[in-house]
Assembly symmetry: C2
Amino acid sequence: MYVTIVEVHVKKEYVSNFIEATRINHLASVKEKGNRRFDVLQMTDEATRFVLYEAFASAEAAAAHKKTEHYLQWRATVSDWMATLRKGTTYNGLFPE
Amino acid sequence: MYVTIVEVHVKKEYVSNFIEATRINHLASVKEKGNRRFDVLQMTDEATRFVLYEAFASAEAAAAHKKTEHYLQWRATVSDWMATLRKGTTYNGLFPE
């Protein structure tokens, strides 16, 4: 499993817009063949901070996600709503195997 | 879904010990009734850095995890292997619902 943890900081006036746009992205992403998880999380202590937990079967499947229409649409939609640059960190999933 | 992302930095000489101890914790944790995910991740760019992605049905189920024998055993086992203090951040899982 190849995982990207994306940290997102949203301008506070766009929090509900961001949630709705990301819900749509989630629904399409979990249908991708190589997707294993696409969890959308909101920090309990700070409602403007989110994490997208994106797990794919392989690095190739993760790269294919970035070419999908729903990803590109999401990226364009949320672009002006970011308070700071998004930060993605990649991991090898050890367990589950 | 109630999620804790635990960032772990392990002394490099204990990386393989940590992986084995955490594998055992993973296998028991995913059997807990309230557990949804217990993913063990190793950073691709830095092999001494790990994330435990722990998702439970509720905050109560997450709290119950910390009272299990396997968690307490894991915590005691890995304690001397940490390079820095572990850091946990909690999130409300928005999607999947």
